[in-house]
C-alpha cells in the first residue's frame, strides 16, 4: 500500500530533512545533499532509495551524477491522514459526552 510507504519514508527525521530540502531547493545531486549534512553518502543514497520507493522523489541520470527532485503530490495520503484525526476526535467527543451523562456531579 503506497500510504504505508509514505509514512515509513517520512517517519525518519533524516529522510524528512532530505525531502524538505528537495522541496525547498529544487533538484539536487547526491553529492549536494551529502555535503555538510553530517551523514555519509551511502546513507544519503539509501534514504533516497526509500523516498523514491514511496514516490516522494524522482531521479534523473545526467552523466555520472544522479539528480533528485521532490514529488510533493505523493504526500496526499499523509494529508488525508491528518484530516482523518478530525473524524477520530468527533467520535471521541461523542464518547466524552456519554461519559459525562453517567458521571456524578
Amino acid at each position: 500500500m503506497i500510504a504505508d510507504d509514505v509514512f515509513r519514508a517520512l517517519a525518519d527525521p533524516t529522510r524528512r530533512a532530505i525531502f524538505e530540502r528537495l522541496t525547498r531547493d529544487g533538484e539536487l545531486t547526491v553529492h549536494a545533499l551529502t555535503d555538510h549534512s553530517g551523514v555519509s553518502q551511502p546513507a544519503v543514497s539509501k534514504h533516497l532509495g526509500i523516498l523514491k520507493h514511496a514516490n516522494l522523489v524522482r531521479d534523473r541520470r545526467a552523466g555520472r551524477e544522479t539528480h533528485y527532485s521532490a514529488q510533493p503530490q505523493a504526500l496526499a495520503p499523509l494529508v488525508d491522514w491528518v484530516s482523518a484525526y478530525g473524524a477520530f476526535w468527533r467520535e471521541r467527543f461523542d464518547r466524552l459526552e456519554s461519559i459525562l451523562k453517567r458521571m456524578d456531579q
Binding site: A11, T14, I18, G38, P72, L75, V82, R90
Partner: protein, 140 residues
C-alpha cells in the same frame, strides 16, 4: 483538491450541557479518560510524560507518547501527542456558557520529534504541516 488551510490543525468544538469542573475531571482523571479516549498514565502535572495506549495495528504499536504542557484547572489543558514519528499538540479549552460549557479541542503542529539532526540546527525540522501547506500550495 487539497486545501491546506483546513489541514494545518484539527479543531473540534461542541457545546456540552455540563459544568467545566465536571468536564475537567473527564479530561484529567486517568480512569475517566480511559472510558472515552484510551488507556493512559496521565497526571495533570506540567512536564509529566505519559502515554496513551490503543490496540496495536499493523506497523503501529498503538502507543502515543505525550508530555503535559499546560494545566489550568477547569480552563485549559495541553499535551504533546507523538506517534509514528510525528508530534502534534492537543489543546483543550473549556469556556463556561449559560447552558454548560463550550469544549474546544485543537490538535496542531504535526511536527516531528526532537531527534532531527541532519546538518544540525540549520536544517532543523520545522512544523511539518506548515511545510506541507507550502508544498501542497505549490501544486496549484
Amino acid at each position: 483538491m487539497i486545501t491546506p488551510d483546513t489541514r494545518r490543525s484539527v479543531i473540534v468544538e461542541r457545546e456540552m450541557a455540563h459544568p467545566p469542573e465536571k468536564i475537567w475531571r473527564a479530561l484529567t482523571q486517568g480512569a475517566l479518560i480511559e472510558e472515552w479516549l484510551m488507556q493512559n498514565d496521565f497526571q495533570p502535572v506540567v512536564g509529566h510524560r505519559f502515554s496513551f495506549r490503543a490496540t496495536p495495528a499493523p506497523k503501529w504499536n498503538g502507543v502515543i507518547d505525550c508530555e503535559v504542557l499546560v494545566v489550568e484547572p477547569h480552563e485549559r489543558l495541553a499535551y504533546t501527542w507523538g506517534s509514528l514519528g510525528f508530534e502534534s499538540v492537543v489543546t483543550w479549552t473549556l469556556t463556561p456558557t449559560a447552558g454548560g460549557t463550550h469544549v474546544r479541542m485543537e490538535q496542531s503542529g504535526f511536527g516531528a520529534g526532537q531527534d532531527a539532526n541532519f546538518k544540525g540546527a540549520t536544517w532543523g525540522w520545522r512544523k511539518f504541516v506548515g511545510n506541507l501547506e507550502r508544498v501542497v500550495g505549490g501544486l496549484g
